[in-house]
Amino acid sequence: FPLPHWSRTRTTSGEPGGEREREREGERRRWTRRQAAMIPQSSLPSHIASGPHVSPFTNSNAGLQADHRSEDIHVPANAASVPFAVAPSTEHAEVNLGEPRKHTTSPYVTGNSVLAIKYKEGVLMACDMLGAYGSTKRYKSVQRVFKVNETTIVGASGEISDFQYISNLLEELTTQDFCYDDGCTLSPKEIHAYLCRVLYNRRNKMDPLWNSLVVAGVDTAGESFIGSVGMLGTSYTDSHVATSFGNYLSRPLFREFQRDDMSLEEAIALMQEALRVLFYRDKTSINKFILAKVSGGEGVAISKPFALDTKWDLKAFVNPSKHAVGSW
């Protein structure tokens, strides 16, 4: 199993700066050549890009839900062992009239990481297409990237229904801009600020939108922007951003290899490595991703779904118990 490319630089510590730089450069070139075959076709929005594809959530087992829904009766030791209730039954709602309304206290259908990096001409965002229902990989064609206007895209991890609500809000804003018809459109920075206010406001009402959002885009003046907003209203901007597991698995890669003047090919290669790591290590992930890019002048492009090559024929997988003395 070839060592990941980046670990090679780590072994050469204490070298003079120039040599290290050159080795890095060579490594990057090797990297991009290897990945060149896997650059996905980044085309203008296909039919897949025209909206999320989450199936309507029909609740047919109302009777069954009533038993499991009440959290007082059955306190699960492990969240995964309790079947998820979908809609609160009416009798429960009547009983709780005098109590504070409980809203999204836990997410149901969730998306995992969203990644975004800046490159030379703009920004690149990537995520997988999974809508997980707890541990079940239930919806496998969920597009978690929403195109707001020609300058901005928003990606979401967390509760998919809350993301659909947020997409509606953003679409209303864009429609308003269209109706004004005065040449002003919302820039990525403005959309980020707006979403911060929305999410913070909802958190203050103890009814959060259970999402970690990534806002990325290039404004009409050519400035790239990437910002993140969490479900508590925490927000920040940076050259590279990741949510959920991507924070732990992908950001170290970005810190090491992302530069604001990367070419598109380099950026795609870096993104694909980050996605591959997520697929290897994050249990609720699937090998089906999309890339979305916004570049100055060319607007928004969302790719078709693609899969990455992965390697599972490790010797340790073939004979798992070989070195496991005393285990079964």
């Binding site: 004004y180 005065d182 040449g183 002003c184 919302l186 820039s187 920075k189 600020a193 707006y194 003046a221």
Partner: protein, 230 residues
């Protein structure tokens, strides 16, 4: 205009298709102190003549207001109505800045204000605003100059004057229109002030106690543009 049987209510049309109350409100604007506005590719400037009850004894009434770092207005007519609009505009700008962290585009603000004017012309329990605004602002689409009117209409201009004796100012602006395009901010301000001076007349103090010359007491100038820190 003469009194007639269709001018009692703002909700009454005349047979010729006019609403006289709204037109009377526009008269109030025409009687107000003169204000002049000019804009070119980089800046927009307004100059306004302030009135006072008696130029020896009383103060001069403030009629130019800063709405936000990038927007300002000059008011002509019932200044009290103008202050209400000023408060509304400042509130809108602040709200927008809070939510979107960016300045409110000028055209949208003026449109909102114009819509407010229109509401007052279509309610039997209200009266039209007796004020015209000259609104200058600078946003991502460049500098702008707008005029609003009690009827709820608004127009964008390169140069305009409104208020009493504004026709003389308009004549000056029309003559010099080609020069505004490429002149500097200082030149633009001078043009605005010269246009304003046209409306003062050249004789000495007039019978009604109003000034005949521009002084630093009775003239206010405001400007927006891209070079300064607005």
């Amino acid at each position: 205009m003469f009194r007639n049987q269709y001018d009692t209510d703002v909700t009454t049309w005349s047979p010729q298709g006019r609403i006289f109350q709204v037109e009377y409100a526009m008269e109030a604007v025409k009687q107000g102190g003169c204000a002049v506005g000019i804009r070119n590719k980089t800046h927009a400037v307004i100059a306004a003549l302030k009135m006072s009850q008696d130029s020896d004894l009383s103060s001069y009434q403030k009629k130019v207001f800063k709405i936000d770092n990038h927007i300002g207005i000059a008011v002509s007519g019932l200044i009290a109505d103008g202050r209400i609009l000023c408060r509304y505009m400042r509130n809108e700008c602040l709200n927008h800045k809070f939510v979107y962290e960016s300045p409110l585009p000028v055209a949208r603000l003026v449109r909102d204000v114009a819509d407010r004017h229109q509401v007052a012309t279509a309610r039997s329990w209200k009266r039209p605003f007796g004020v015209g605004l000259l609104c200058i602002g600078h946003d991502q689409t460049g500098p702008h100059l707008f005029q609003t009117c009690p009827s709820g209409n608004y127009w964008e201009y390169y140069a305009i004057a409104m208020g009493s004796r504004s026709q003389a100012s308009k004549t000056y602006l029309e003559k010099k229109l080609d020069e505004f395009e490429s002149c500097s901010l200082e030149e633009l301000v001078k043009h605005a002030m010269r246009a304003l001076e046209e409306s003062c007349g050249t004789r000495g103090k007039k019978e009604d106690g109003k000034d005949a010359k521009l002084t630093h007491h009775n003239c206010t100038v405001a400007m927006v543009g891209q070079v300064r820190e607005e």
